[in-house]
Every structure is written in C-alpha cells, then in structure tokens.
Amino acid sequence: MATATEESRARQGAGAPSGAAAISLEQIVKTYRSGGEDVQAVRGVDLRIEQGEFFSLLGPSGCGKTTTMRMVAGFEDPTSGTVRLHGDDVTGIPPHRRDVNMVFQSYALFPHMTVFDNVAFGLRRKGEAAGEIRRKVAESLELVELSGRERTKPGRLSGGQQQRVALARALVNRPSALLLDEPLGALDLKLRQAMQIELKRIQRDVGITFVYVTHDQGEALTMSDRIAVMNGGRVEQLGTPAEIYERPATRFTAGFIGTSNLLSGTVDGHRGGFAEIGIDGAGEILAECDSPAGSRVDLTVRPEKIALDTAEPSADRARLPGVVAEVVYLGSTTHYTVRLGDGTEIVVFRQNSSDAASAADRGDTVWVSWRPEHAYALPGT
C-alpha cells in the first residue's frame, strides 16, 4: 500500500497541476438523523486539495468542517457524493484501509502505551520490520523534537508535548494526507503561536498534504496555502489567505475573517475605473464595483486600511466624516470606533508608531478615508 502511494506521488511530481488531486471531494452531502429529523451537516461540497498543500477548512462550530474531514478520514460515510484520494474512489472504505492519518483535537493518545509504542502503532499494524520501526519512530520523534522521551507515558507529558506525540504518531506513517482536527485548540496562546510556525515548518520539511480544520481565522491565515471558508454546510469561499482576507466573497466571510466594516449604499455612476457610491446618510465615496448605476451594494473595508484625520483628506481618497465614539488602546495599535452621520460605526486600526500624529479623542470630529481600491463591493449584493 505504502509503495503504491510512493509511486503515484513520484509519477505526479511535486505540485504537478495536471493529474489527480491528493484529495478530491465531489458533491459531498451528509445528512444525520437526529430526533426524528434530518439534519444536513454538509450540503454539497466540492473541493480539490493538491499534493503538498497546506489546506484549511475554516468556519464556526457546526459549519460542517469537522464532518467533512471525518468523511475524508473514513469515520463517516457521505450520504451522497464521492471522496477520492489520488484519484481513487475511497467512498465507503473504512479508515484503517485509507492512506490518510488524523491528529485529533483531544490528541487521543493511547494512555497505556509509551510514547514509542504510540508512535510505532501504525507501523506495527502495517507489519513493518522491527528495525525499520525503530528507525522511523526515532526520526519522527526527532522531527517533533521529542527525542529521549520514548519510554514516557503520555500522561506524564505536557499538553504541548502530547500534541507533538500525536503529530509524530500520524506523520511516521508518511500518509498521503494528514488531517488535523483543531489540534492546537487545547493549548495556551503562546504555545499555540509557536506550534503554528512549527506545524508549517514540519509540513514544508515532509511535503505531506495537510488538511487543517479550525475555527480560528488567525491560525488559518498564518499557516495555509489555501483556505475553504465554510458556513452552514457549504463552502462560502475558496482561496489563498490574502484573497480571502482582501477580497471576501460574501458578507459571512467578510464578517468571519478578521474585523470588517460593512457599508450599504447605492451606485450613482462610474468614474475612472471606480464606482461612485452614495453611502446612506453619510456621503459619497469611490469604490471598486461593477454593478450598474442604481443597484444596492454592500461595501467592505478592512480597519487597517482606513486613515483617521482631523483635516479633510484629498478628493482622490474615499472619505467620510464622523465622530470618534470609542478609543481602545492595545499597545502596538489603537482601535477607534467612528460613528458616521447615519449611525453606522466604522472601526479603524492605527499603528502607534512614534511619528504618528497625535491621536484623536472620544467626541472629536474626524474624517475616515481610504484608497478607493481598498473598498470592495461584496458580489451578489
């Protein structure tokens, strides 16, 4: 089994655009029966995850991301649709015969076994020779920087170390894809951030496809090559972290990823590649928008793109007057909430750099402004 995968990987070459994807989901639907009612957890998901990619499924709890991953692992069978690993249809094949491994949220280490036995578990089931097992386990523990802890029981390790054992236990099998179910959820912030960088390094080192399930947008943005934002059992948006962040496709994505300002208005006309949009009760601004004149649109602007001035900014910027309603000092940045004429609140992040002009105070009348290309009309609004 292992050699077959190796060959198929060699045939494909790293990052070959043609050929079968590492994982492909085709029209996946999952319906549960709960309390006499059918609950649709996943409603028609189509995804292609390429070989060697760090791919994240991002969404709030109950969005279907974990169910989707469990269908890739084989713990759940889709109600309809097809799961393919390297082009082979694996729908209905049990987890122990799939060439993917999972890192569980609770780690799910075997408490009665030593670290060595935990990591060796998969290799032993595959019937590898004892010498090979010793070599691979040692190599894998070195990768997660846990050499020397072979004889320890998981219960005697810290949360972060248990996490690394879980990772080593899955990676040692050199699966065609590694599935990670919110693996950093139980760690404290500092450790979580360190592990994010660590995970990315390990993924680069081993070149295995990682599928990462998380509700933490920061985590997804930091590590992923591509992100699928999920909501209500569907993929809302698929793209690189920058695409997802800079160009949210829906109101949901705009609100879920980072902080976003939403402005509603009507398109008045087009000028120089930009649309002139009348923001309800606040003023007229320029923004990127293809909708014809007269249509209603929702605009989104990221808080860090917005400048705060006491003097009126130049006319080539999108600008709106308002009053500072809230000032929150956060050390490296200060967050301002500015209330516009119609009552809409705009959040502005401002770096506390030494050369910054003196900050505005609560109650000050100010101008918020940004470059027109930084305001973006959500499609389909």
Binding site: A73, L109, F121, N173
Partner: protein
Amino acid sequence: MAATQAGKRGRTGRFAPYALVLPGWVWLALFFVAPIASVVSMSLMTGSLGAGYSFTFEVGNYTRALGLYWEQILRSLLYGGLATLLCIAIGYPVAYWIAFKGGAYKTTYLLLVLLPFFVSFVLRTISWGFILSDNGVILGALKGLGVLPADFGVLNSATAVVFGLAYNFLPFMVLPIYAVLERMDHRVVEAAHDLYAGRVQAFVRVVLPMSLPGVFAGVIMVFIPTSADYVTATVLGGTGNTMIGKVIQTQYLVNNAYPLAAAITFVLMAVLLIGIFSYAKALGTEQVMEVQAR
C-alpha cells in the same frame, strides 16, 4: 490576646481533619479490627462450647484446618476462579455492548443487569434448583422430547455450582467493566482505526488494555465472595462439591468447634489475600492504577 486566639484557632485547625475521620476509624475498629482480632485469638484457643474456651496458643487448629480441609479450600478457589472466568466471558461482552451500543437506553440495560438483585440471593439460588432439577422445567421438557437421556442431570454437580456462582455475581463483573468502558474516550478507538487497526486489532491493542482496571476490579469483587460462598454450593451442589464456606458454617453453627472454624476462616482469608496481591503484582498495579487515574 489576638495572637493567642489565632494560635488556638490554628491548633483546632490542625486537629480538625483527624476529628473528621474519627467516625470512620471507630467504625473500622468496631466492625473490622475487633472481629478480626477475635477470630485470630479464637483460632488459637482450645475448649468446647459447654466448658468454655481458653487461650492456649493452640497452633494445632491451623494444622488441623489445613490437614482436614485442604481439599475444600482448593475446590473453593477452583470454583471461585472458574466462576470468575465465566463472569468475565459473559460480563465483558454485556458491559461492552451496553457502553458502546446502548445509546439512550444505557441506564435501562444496566437496571436489567441489576434486576435480579431485587430478589433475595438465597431465593434466586433455590429457584435455580427448581429450574435445573432432573425433571424440572428445562430438563423435564427436553427428556420428554427425547433430546436428553432419562438419567441426565445438572444439579448436584460442579457445573451447577460454578454456573450458579457466576449467575449470582455477574453484575459485580459487569458494573466495573462498564464504568471503565463508558468513560473511555471514543476518539482513542478511532485513532486506532485511523492507524490501520481493524476491529479486532483495535479491541485487542487499545480497548481491552484500557479496560483492564475494570476487569481487575471485577475479578476482585467476584473472586473473593464466590470463593467464600456457601449458599450456592449447598443448594446446587451435591456432597462431592462442598466448598470451604459450607465447612466453616458447619464447624461454627453445627459442631460449635469455634477455634477450628476460626482457624479455617483465617486460612481462607490469608489464601485470598495472597492470591489477590500476587494477581495485582502480576498485572502491574502501577499501570492499572495509572490508567484508572485518568
């Protein structure tokens, strides 16, 4: 003034924990230490019920106990051991099924396991005597149909005693195993499947070792009382199946040979304790306790 008050309070605080365990100690002293001490001293006495007993450091009671009744002691351990194995064989699948497949009805199934306990122990055993009698409900019917020969019997045999013991103590095996399986993190089993273990491998490598503390507790809770039981052997067994419990009862209550009975009692207790400790040692108590602590 204030300082002395604080000091007083400190002293009361120091003694408070001991005061709180005092009832426990008194209870243990009255109902455990005192009876044991009385049995030990009785086992070294001579005399009769009529003439009274006096402490003569009579070690002969022990040699007599072992010399006369080693057969019954060994038989008790054998029957208790077999009944315990039978309880594991029947109880483990039951506990497993309730814990993993019981769904919303787990409590109901557990109640069903416990249901026989609502009927007196002796009554249940006597009922089995009726059910299994040579011309009773089951055997009588089967003999009538010609399935079994007319002289076939189950009662008054070692089989009847062992099955009777297993029946009576089955819940003591089911409950501790169930308790361990029920709180087992199901993700750990999934992890085993994920790491290429099929159903059998996942059970043998992960579920079974992780449930051993439950089996350990069950074995202790079944083996000790079954080895010392005398009701089941009396009701379902014959003259050739006497267990040591019956001997003790007879020596105490029929022959009034208190010192001998006390000596047998103490021998049985010692044998069971040694058995349990070596069992724990062999299984690796530390490991067992470690898994249980989680």
